[in-house]
Amino acid sequence: MKRIKKFKNVEELKKAIEQQEAGRQQEKKKRVIVVSSGTCGQARGSLKVIETLKKALREEGLKDQVTIRITGCHGFCEAEPNLIIYPDRIFYQKLTPPDVRTIVKETLVEGRVVEKFLHRDPLTKERAWYENEIPFYQKQKRIVLGDNVFVDPTSLLEYLAIGGFRPFIKALTRMKPEEIIQTVKQSGLRGRGGAGFPTGLKWEATRRAPGDIKYIICNGDEGDPGAYMDRSVLEGNPYRVLEGMMIGALAIGAREGYLYVRDEYPLAVRHVTLALEQLYRAGLLGEKILGTDFSLDLHLAKGAGAFVCGEETALIASIEGRVGEPRQRPPFPAQKGLWRKPTCINNVETWANIPLIILNGADWFSSIGTSGSKGTKIFSLVGKINNTGLVEVPMGITLREIIYDIGGGIPEGKAFKAVQTGGPSGGCLPASMLDQIIDYESLTAAGSIMGSGGMIVMDEKTCMVDVAKYFLNFLRDESCGKCISCREGTQRMWEIVRDITEGLGRPEDLELLEELALATKEASMCGLGQTAANPVLSTLRYFRDEYEAHIYEKRCPAGVCKSLIRYAVIPEKCTGCEACKRACPTGAIQGTRKDTHLILYDKCIKCGACLEACRFEAIEAQREEAITIVREVKP
């Protein structure tokens, strides 16, 4: 890594940016191989791929002609580890170290494209040669995530090479704080953490709050199961977030700020730490930045893994060293926040949008999206979907476009059943809502929330009562326990739903569940409790028939709830391949090769391993006939 010199004034920084940008232009003539290596990539072996790639290039003598850039996640997690070869933008996916050797030989030396490593569309089965031909990327509008491809997140100079810190220079030299706030207000940017509060108004309130000492905080405590937008932004482009915070501090009049990142994100923590170090060394943080009167200190605060600390008052308590529990607002953090001083707290994605708004102007940003929700939103598209990954889409896109056009539909041709948006406290939307457009208001009207952007797709083999149970279990554990409505409310809702999945449900349970869910929503203090009932309320609203089937018929329509099903072999379909027999952990399957198998019910633990193993759909979940469920006598 090149040693960074301290920039003494704006001119020096400008010069450095120009120099780096010119270097990038030069680089375009050369071959550049981009390997994505975020947490998702590393989990699938990208580090080994990089190692082999370096070795192969050395062996072929291409070391000096080809540049390797190791970046954060590009969003297409399904295709990890992948590499893109510039300038042609050939996209190879799902690689192993031996594949990389083939690619180096074939593509780099011989100049041929290796077809079998190209992306193949799950619906049309067509191969896409180039990155921009892949349907997953085509419908997205990647203003925040898109630059991840061009930046090595560990190097400040790389960020300068894509024009980084130009927005900061613009804000520092040519804009008054009021103008910055006005621009953000006009852009219509709303908080990306979930609640959707207009960012400009928040900044203005913090700026106007009396007091000399003000703080800014970046909320990177992303704890939802199945959501990792903020992690990827922090890992892939930490400088953009930091630059956004610097501009924010300039506008608000803060001299100190915190990045609150969960400690469960080691790579994000590492990249942010590195970025902070380099910014201090470059004189872009600290006293008298670039020789001006503006000073800013940014610190990293590591969260210890509590979902509730994503709530702003709990997060502040956590930074202060107290137990992470929310408190009543008002006073809002903009009036009394960290150490009782005015504090502006925004989500990672919100901060990452700021440099773009300052650089391109408010009109550019507000031209994207719907009337009430501007810009783009990153969703983490996970669950039963072909193209798992992060998708950045303009507000106002429909769920159908995200799931079918970008996500590539449901695997194995199964039918779509529901999509859960907004994390554990969001709601499940059924197929009839697929043409729902996505913005803050319409999602709330549909009984879900935007949340931080989790999007879990479920297919026909998902039991919605089981889903509600899963999220309630998460919430009863993650509730801080201060309000009785949230602590006992989630616990009791979980108990009722658990009983229903075990065949112990009573008809009156549904009424009680609904009443309790509403009370939890109304009576709780913070956002966690107020939205904790959403999984129950939305599944009750759209999938009431499934609850009723569990209660009245003691039947799980999707064949998921273990107490209500048993696995059986369909003799006509069974080929006697013994695959299920090998998969069974308890030896409950009998039968010899080429002979119809049989499941012994007294040994079967209903783990479902046989169902997964069978390639002939010869195992099905049947209704447990012998079910004699007697509800235990209540005192």
Binding site: Q328, G481, R492, L512, E515, E522, A523
Partner: protein
């Protein structure tokens, strides 16, 4: 002075007062449990809920922690408030059915059903003892442990605390373990022995009209509780 409206009446509050304090000053009763004048407000029991704002933006907040604000419109006993409050009492009963304080509250607010499985923990985690120990007794011997459904009150590491002087402040202030109710009926877990009257106004109006809160005293709108 802050001017605001409680139940349609214009009231004036001092700077720094909460809604609860203002209401009390004007003699309007709001039920509380985790609140105590000598301790910092906590907002955990959710009994002192009131509805603030109007129209679609109206919401429920705990009056013990919400500061009095200029122009605030407060309703202390709308249907929404009463329903939520009843559910809170029902939830408390399910974990501390032998507490006379909670049984009395159940009687007062007409909670006649308890539909959850009893999990007798004799504690509703209102935090009064924790605040009493820290703020009045200067002990800090007890505190909360864990979170969510595993939350409990104990000394650090569940060991006998050297900070504890056995002053008994925590027991004195506890609403759940200090006064005992005769005991719940086996069927409903609700004593309701103290309940004979209930106000009828909620059948006709959206708000409880009886500011005395003492069902029966005004004599105009109560009826004998059926069974």
């Amino acid at each position: 002075m802050i001017t605001m409206k409680i139940n349609g009446v214009e009231v004036k509050a001092e700077e720094g007062w909460t809604i609860l304090e203002t209401a009390k000053f004007y003699g309007l009763e709001i039920p509380t449990l985790c609140h105590h004048e000598g301790l910092t407000p906590y907002g955990g029991c959710r009994l002192c809920l009131v509805e603030i704002g109007e129209g679609p933006r109206a919401k429920l907040v705990s009056s013990c922690t919400y500061p009095a604000e200029e122009g605030l419109v407060v309703h202390t006993d709308t249907k929404r408030v009463v329903q939520a409050r009843r559910m809170m009492i029902e939830l408390m009963l399910s974990v501390a059915p032998y507490s006379k304080v909670i049984q009395d509250l159940a009687s007062k607010f007409g909670v006649t059903r308890m539909r959850f499985k009893i999990r007798n923990e004799e504690c509703i985690l209102c935090g009064l003892c924790v605040r009493m120990c820290e703020e009045q007794m200067d002990g800090k011997a007890i505190g909360f442990q864990n979170r969510g459904f595993q939350r409990k009150i104990s000394t650090p590491f569940d060991l006998r605390s050297e900070e504890c002087r056995l002053c008994g402040g925590c027991i004195y202030i506890c609403p759940a373990c200090q006064l005992r109710c005769q005991g719940p009926q086996a069927e409903t877990a609700i004593c309701n022995a103290c309940l004979t009257m209930e106000p009828t106004c909620l059948d006709f109006y959206d708000e409880l009209q009886c500011w005395m809160y003492d069902a029966g005293r005004c004599g105009t709108c109560v009826r004998e509780k059926k069974s």
